[in-house]
């Protein structure tokens, strides 16, 4: 067997898929829940960046993981709240507000990085923490599955758990029902006394929490430092992943996994003799392709629906 193919069909490849899919699963859930409420949050990029940064700084100065977790989530939720304030309260266009926040996040993190770490690129001069990995012990002996799951970061497991939590919130709580109702027909929702703005804000807050977890994983699990613009478009790829999945839990998860596979593939292809620029561009090309196929299909479905 070709050694390249062999490495792709190995457990270490699948291990890597989960590892790289995690920072897409989180923001994808964030995009999904906000989309369900009818105000799509495209500021996940900025939310992840700010949380990733906050987590690293707080852990470096407190050496406490719990505090870092809380601070990281709070920072993400704060960005979501600002987005909510602009779009829901001041009625600014949510897309423009989100773009502004993404740019702001990129700038402020570099600025503060320089203040705290005296470096405009990476935080490696700071002694920041990482979230623990889970050792499966005896369970790691299970063929294939053991190899894929053993030694994964705890946030990878939490990403799986989040998909289930997302499912429960959306389909089994009054909040989820209201979020869906508000997204589908805000007039109908408000006609039965639902406060549309409040429900949309709750959805944005939840999307901030999901995004924050994604950001924390990036800087405190995936790697152990913060780097400028380290999200590298994952917050946008998450939009693609959730829209492939129709904002549904399983679909969004599978969509994220698809991009995880593409990323992992790009990593595995790196050693062979192709210019690395081409390999690095693969995930983005796939994003465009998938979105094209996806929208062509949904246009067709729409036409059928109109018959």
């Amino acid at each position: 067997m070709n050694p390249l193919l062999k490495s792709i069909f190995s457990t270490s490849f699948l291990f890597s898929v989960l590892r790289v899919a995690t920072p897409i699963i989180f923001p994808a859930l964030g995009v999904a829940i906000s989309s369900l409420s009818g105000s799509t949050n495209i500021a996940l990029e900025g939310i992840m960046l700010v949380s990733a940064f906050t987590g690293v700084i707080v852990s470096a100065f407190t050496q406490n993981l719990w505090l870092s977790l809380i601070a990281g989530i709070s920072a993400g939720v704060l960005i979501a709240l600002i987005l909510g304030y602009f779009s829901l309260k001041l009625k600014a266009d949510i897309i423009l507000a989100a773009i502004a926040l993404n740019l702001f996040a990129s700038g402020i993190t570099v600025f503060l990085l320089y203040i705290f770490a005296h470096d405009k690129g990476v935080s490696s001069s700071l002694k920041s923490l990482v979230f623990p990995t889970i050792k499966l012990g005896l369970l790691s002996k299970i063929p294939i599955l053991g190899g894929i799951l053993d030694n994964q970061n705890i946030l990878v497991y939490i990403a799986f758990l989040s998909v289930i939590i997302y499912y429960v919130i959306v389909f089994h709580t009054p909040l989820g029902l209201k979020i869906r109702a508000v997204g589908l027909n805000p007039d109908a929702a408000s006609s039965v006394g639902i406060n549309v703005v409040r429900i949309k804000l709750y959805a944005l807050i939840l999307s901030g929490v999901f995004g924050a977890l994604g950001g924390l994983y990036l800087s405190m699990g995936y790697v152990s430092w913060f780097g400028r613009d380290m999200t590298a478009g994952r917050g946008f790829i998450a939009i693609a992943a959730s829209s492939i999945g129709g904002n549904m839990p399983l679909g969004t998860f599978l969509g994220s996994l698809l991009f995880g596979i593409v990323y992992a593939l790009a990593n595995f292809l790196a050693p062979i003799n192709i210019p690395s620029e081409i390999i690095q561009v693969i995930p983005y090309i796939v994003t465009v392709l998938v979105l094209t196929i996806y929208s062509a299909r949904s246009v067709k479905e729409k036409e059928v629906g109109e018959e």
């Binding site: 709580t173 009054p174 029902l177 869906r180 109702a181 007039d187 109908a188 039965v192 006394g193 018959e307």
Partner: protein, 507 residues
């Protein structure tokens, strides 16, 4: 009898200065069906919005069951036992029926989870109590409009509404669905509910209402027992003058064939045959009416004739020229005009100006634009002339078309379509949802077009309209022309009914 709602000297002035209600007094008796009729802009919708807490009046008092109230939001009205079924239904299409029914009042498990079983039980309780059947597990978007409306009524009942306001509930229903609705409303009345029913359709008002209030120009003109008023009386009071229900005069001159449909068939994407081998022709100077219950292929037929949809087989000739594979613009330039069934979807761009809508089919032509630049001087002149000629009530030609009432929006469409020197007019539900006054105007415009030699194809679900205007009538059922009546004089709905329902067919 006890009074459910009493309005005293209600005055409502909108911020733009329109006085919608001028000292309105109205008493709605408990356990009656009370119809409120009036032309568009007569102030009845505003009055309902005031009762339901959507709008607040500047002056006047509202009493619900003898208690004075001031509603600032619909929620307060709902809490006082008032429910409203809006014309544009307030349902989330992608949620199931039971989710829509219980939205906002969901039973919970452990405080934070939905109790799906209890949600079902709650809905079932009300379904049984009021005998209003709805499929609980289906999504709203899978239901026909009549069922959606039933969900809306049930939704109000679930919130303990005693007084139900229905805003033109029959405008979107087929005759069969209307019948079912009326049965439900009567049942609700039996069970002690009070129903306020807004309508344009006088026949229905006579059929269902105990009491009728007629509004005109923001005022209540009369309130009386329905049995004391004839349809003619109501129409006269509504419009303020005599309205004709007579058949229009017969065509004087019938000329050559202008529109010819030959062996036309159409299969939709699901491979269902929607149109089956349709053949007919329309001559200059005649109106051919297509009667049928909606959804029997009329929409598809009209869209094929106007180039919006491609036929599967067969041919359509306009003045002898086949229009198959021609673009909409080419077909229009051959002299075909189209008054579409849904004016907001296909008739106008709702946020665009009146004048922009009036020229949307001719903006590229000489005079309207020169070398690709719009000539506004000419456009304004032409638009003002159309507004005058077609009696369009608009603040100005610069106003967005959605600021107009339904009747006047329809007049904008009719003005554009009839002023392009058409040879063939395809008119689909031309007076749907508009008031009696505008209806008469639109019908007159169509008659004038006929008399000037146009061939008119009139597609309508409203039998009275078909019987009033048509020179000949074709009945469509299940995608087939099942009967043709060459003489319309003396025909009634009873003659057409069995063919429309597929019980009978012609030779």
């Amino acid at each position: 009898m006890a009074i459910a709602i009493s309005l005293r000297d209600i005055v409502k002035v909108y911020p733009n200065g329109v006085v919608a209600n001028k000292k309105v007094n109205l008493d709605i008796e408990e356990k009656t069906i009370h119809a409120i009729v009036g032309e568009n802009g007569a102030g009845k919708s505003t009055l309902m919005k005031i009762i339901f807490g959507v709008e607040m009046p500047q002056e006047g008092e509202i009493y619900v069951k003898g208690k004075k109230v001031t509603f600032k939001t619909p929620m307060e009205a709902i809490k006082s036992g008032i429910g409203m079924v809006h014309q544009h239904l307030m349902l989330a299409e992608d949620l199931t029926v039971v989710e829509n029914l219980t939205l906002g009042i969901e039973p919970r498990k452990f405080k934070i989870f939905l109790d799906k079983k209890e949600m079902n039980n709650l809905a079932k309780k009300y379904i049984e109590k009021y005998k209003i059947e709805v499929p609980l597990e289906k999504k709203i978007k899978e239901l026909p409009i009549g069922l959606k409306q039933r969900v809306e009524i049930l939704k109000a009942l679930l919130r303990n509404a005693d007084i139900l306001i229905l805003d033109e509930p029959t405008a979107v229903l087929t005759p069969q669905e209307t019948e079912v609705l009326f049965k439900s409303l009567k049942e609700l009345k039996e069970q002690g509910k009070t129903i306020i029913f807004i309508s344009h359709k006088l026949k229905e008002v006579k059929e269902i209402a105990d009491k009728v209030t007629i509004m005109r120009d923001g005022k209540v003109i009369a309130t009386d027992d329905a049995s004391n008023l004839s349809e003619h009386d109501i129409a006269r009071l509504m419009v303020g003058r005599e309205v004709s229900f007579e058949r229009i005069e017969e065509s004087r001159h019938i000329g050559n064939v202008a529109l010819k449909v030959e062996n036309l068939s159409y299969f939709n994407r699901e491979k269902i045959q929607v149109l089956k081998n349709i053949n007919f022709e329309v001559r200059e100077g005649e109106i051919v009416g297509i009667a049928g219950v909606e959804g029997n292929g009329q929409t598809e037929l009209v869209e094929i004739l106007t180039g919006l949809r491609e036929a599967s087989s067969g041919a359509v000739y306009v003045l002898g020229q086949n229009i198959v594979n021609k673009s909409v613009r080419e077909i229009r330039e051959m002299g075909v005009s189209h008054i579409p069934e849904d004016r907001m979807k296909n008739g106008v761009a709702d946020k665009a100006k009146v004048k922009e809508n009036l020229i949307s089919d001719r903006y590229y032509k000489n005079n309207f634009s020169k070398m690709g630049i719009l000539n506004y001087e000419y456009i304004d002149g032409a638009s003002n002339e159309l507004v005058k000629r077609f009696n369009i009530l608009a603040p100005s030609i610069e106003a967005p078309v959605n600021a107009l009432s339904g009747g006047n929006i329809q007049k904008v469409v009719v003005a554009r379509e009839l002023s392009s020197n058409p040879k063939v007019i395809i008119a689909s539900q031309p007076v749907r949802g508009i008031d009696v006054g505008s209806e008469e105007l639109v019908h007159n415009f169509i008659k004038d077009a006929r008399d000037s030699g146009c061939a008119v194809l009139l597609v309508s679900a409203d039998l009275d309209e078909i019987l009033k205007l048509s020179t000949r009538i074709l009945v469509i059922y299940n995608g087939e022309i099942v009967k043709s009546f060459d003489k319309v004089e003396g025909l009634t709905g009873v003659d057409l009914g069995p063919y429309m329902l597929g019980l009978k067919r012609g030779e």
